[in-house]
């Protein structure tokens, strides 16, 4: 079970500048619950939101169906339908937002990008991975594909105790700056280590 009071706060290092991805406890819980509901299959969805002066804020989590063609492969594969992608792009644009990234689950598997993930990833998006073990949400991580596709930069996740009402407040970025670990994460190349 996840702690619903916990706020997930992903910090993006982009071109050397610390960029915060604000994410409320409710939004993190939605992803965890979606992962648990879909277990043992992979689930997936969108993260829509805004970026202002280097701070990214998730405004909406949009669960969608896993459209991977072969039903018996959905335990280890996911795909978002192009119709869903075009719809969410339009909805985001109409709301003055953008697609910040996507989430998917890894049933009984670590929350780390696989070779399959890396092969299919697109640059510029946050890829959130929710591990689900024995029907229970476990660790969650966020990753950005490197421009040369050689691996990922991990986004730090830090508890900040924010609620959704606070996510747009001026204190949000300040809270992040104060509590964030700015250590560089080791470069993760998306390879399985067993």
């Amino acid at each position: 079970m996840i702690d619903l009071d916990r706020c997930l706060f992903a910090i993006r290092h982009y071109a050397g500048v610390l960029v915060a991805l604000n994410w409320t406890a409710e939004q993190g819980a939605m992803i965890a619950r979606h992962g648990e509901r879909g277990y043992p299959n992979e689930i997936c969805g969108f993260l829509l939101g805004t970026r202002t002066d280097g701070t990214a804020t998730v405004r909406e989590v949009v669960p969608v169906e896993n459209h991977w063609e072969a039903l018996d492969e959905r335990r280890r594969r996911f795909m978002i339908a192009p119709e869903d992608f075009l719809r969410e792009e339009r909805r985001a644009r109409e709301a003055g937002w953008e697609i910040l990234g996507f989430y998917h689950s890894h049933p009984d598997h670590p929350a780390r990008p696989s070779e399959t993930d890396r092969e299919a990833a697109w640059p510029g998006y946050s890829y959130v991975i929710q591990s689900v073990r024995d029907s229970s949400a476990a660790e969650v991580t966020s990753w950005l594909l490197k421009d040369d596709r050689s691996g990922y930069d991990q986004e730090d996740i830090v508890d900040c105790g924010m609620r959704s009402a606070d996510s747009a407040s001026p204190n949000a970025a300040a809270a992040g700056q104060g509590s964030t670990s700015t250590r560089a994460n080791p470069q993760y190349k998306g390879e399985e280590h067993g």
Binding site: E42, C44, W68, E69, R76, R77, F78, M79, I80, P82, F85, L86, E89, E98, I99, F102, H104, H106, P107, H109, P113, S114, E115, T116, D117, E119, A120, A121, W122, P123, G124, Y125, Y127, D147, D148, R149, E192, G194
Partner: protein
């Protein structure tokens, strides 16, 4: 042989196309036109093509309103005024320890050649 085919660049790739949403190019086929695009914008190439020169598996390419996998894939002929739309196929997943690449069946299913 067309010389006025419009390519709609998805948001994720605009940073590699000089920030452009649309690029015009020419060629006889979809493959030719996309080849001109990546010649003009070399940083796009690795996100659209595999090292062996084939289109990446998880890229949807539409000629006007049709997915080229249901036409003639990269060999689909183009005409002046046609619009090629690149739509990201968002996919992935955990892999079994014994798998290192897509199975040959998956490659056949998702390839554009």
């Amino acid at each position: 042989m067309a010389d006025r085919v419009k390519i709609l660049v998805p948001t994720a790739l605009r940073q590699f196309a000089g920030g452009r949403e649309e690029v015009e190019a020419g060629g006889a086929t979809v493959g030719d036109v996309l080849g001109q695009l990546t010649t003009a914008h070399a940083d796009l190439k690795k996100h659209l093509y595999k090292d062996n020169g084939q289109l990446r598996n998880f890229v949807n390419i539409y000629l006007n309103d049709e997915d080229i996998r249901y036409l003639e894939k990269a060999a689909t002929p183009v005409a002046d005024g046609d619009v090629i739309t690149i739509v990201p196929a968002i996919a992935g997943g955990a892999q079994a320890v014994e798998e290192l690449t897509l199975s040959s069946e998956e490659v056949a299913r998702y390839s554009r050649h």
